[in-house]
Symmetry: C2
Subunit: 257 residues, 2 copies
């Protein structure tokens, strides 16, 4: 009856349960333990105590063995949780152009830790993209598709294509791009493009070579095939051959201004 602990923070598991209840009740008006267990892929024995706790918190109306319904405050909270889910999955799906399924999977896992502040900024950004004529979705779409094709390609080297696309976008014709491997000791630059495909590309990322990162080449290793560099203060020894796949710009590009 009384909302005992309405202010207490929910655990992620309880948030998930509440969200499932919301989604289900939107369709049916009520849920049973069995439904929740099925949707959330757990056993009914795990759901039962969770319902008791949600009920004690005043978030659901629940008498043992009866239908489960949201209270008013429960629905408000559930919509709030669901809104985090929606913002994230919409961003992944519609802005980043991920597969719907993969987008939702990520959103489900990340939504519990998205702060209000982050949500505010993310939504504002999406509003901007939705309305700004200077963000040319056509270019982004084309670039995305082309890159994704490349990562799925059969090993053929498309780096020239990539450079082309970027050069065209920059309005610079076919002017050659500088590479990480071109840097001289002591020189600092910003990473702008990774040209690797698939796993090779991921290897670059996993080493910390992330677009937007500022890198300083410390020195070439005596072995002649490695170089040492500093990425945001972290040291890294890498194969110079790999560095040829990393494009850099001499000064901070416009996005950082």
């Amino acid at each position: 009856m009384s909302p005992h602990e309405q202010s207490a923070k929910l655990t992620s598991a309880l948030e998930d349960y509440l969200e499932t209840i919301f989604e289900y009740t939107q369709r049916q008006g009520f849920v049973r333990v069995k439904d929740i267990a099925r949707v959330r892929n757990v056993k009914a024995g795990s759901v039962s105590p969770a319902m008791r706790r949600l009920s004690e918190m005043g978030l659901i109306d629940y008498e043992r063995r009866e239908y489960i319904r949201l209270t008013e405050s429960g629905e408000r909270l559930a919509r709030e949780i669901f809104s985090r889910h929606e913002v994230l999955s919409r961003f992944f799906c519609e802005v980043l152009k991920m597969d719907r399924e993969e987008a939702v999977k990520n959103a489900c896992a990340m939504e519990h830790s998205l702060t209000e502040d982050a949500k505010d900024h993310l939504v504002l950004f999406m509003e901007f993209l939705l309305n700004c004529p200077f963000f040319d979705i056509v270019h982004w779409q084309r670039f995305h598709d082309q890159q994704m094709d490349i990562t799925r390609a059969d090993g053929c080297d498309h780096s020239c294509t990539t450079a082309c696309v970027f050069s065209a976008m920059r309005g610079e014709g076919m002017e050659p791009l500088r590479r990480l491997s071109d840097l001289v000791p002591g020189e600092t630059a910003v990473i702008t493009i990774l040209e690797g495909e698939g796993d090779e590309r991921r290897e670059l990322l996993n080493l910390g070579l992330i677009p937007g990162s500022s890198v300083t080449l410390s020195h070439h290793h005596p072995d002649g095939i490695h170089s040492e560099l500093l990425i945001n203060g972290f040291g890294l020894r890498f194969l110079r051959a790999l560095g040829a796949r990393v494009c850099v710009a001499g000064e901070n590009p416009s996005t950082r201004g």
Copy 2:
């Protein structure tokens, strides 16, 4: 010595420990239990068993009561985890323009659930923004600052300003925008802008009124002050007065194409 379970998936807590060890050893070459406990804000008694497990997995070199160092495979994995962290915090900070501290806080909490696929797409998007001349960072910056000022304002109604900014961006002069409250029963539209400030804006979001969402007005409630609508299949009763703060576009805007 031997990497017993190198393939076993790490829990988030162990990932955090490994990441902390990485960051610390980059500066000092080694870490002690005490350092980790301080940085991660836990007691030494909690760190100890975690180090034993990481050691059993072959990710760190650790003899009881000695310094902690990463093994080769541990460092590789740590860099991979750190790369997820970097991608996310860079996105929050440099693209979404959040405060560095808040950006890192979110990244720390979300990094453990960012899949490879999501990271790929996010990085690709950042590459695009870094290089695309059609994404005019100046407009985004100005819009961001203006909106953020609005949310921090003292309650004065800036909706005209907001409309102005958007109209200018769309190159439409001062042509009036349609509102959610203007929809007639049965009509469908896409949410483009939320004009509320601070908590009012959040209330809209928490109800599910998210930019990009498709909404269909079901009917006006007999009480005259509420309306019922469908957002992506979910029902919602809302105050029509609130709907005046929500801008909509008749057809899918360009971002969805």
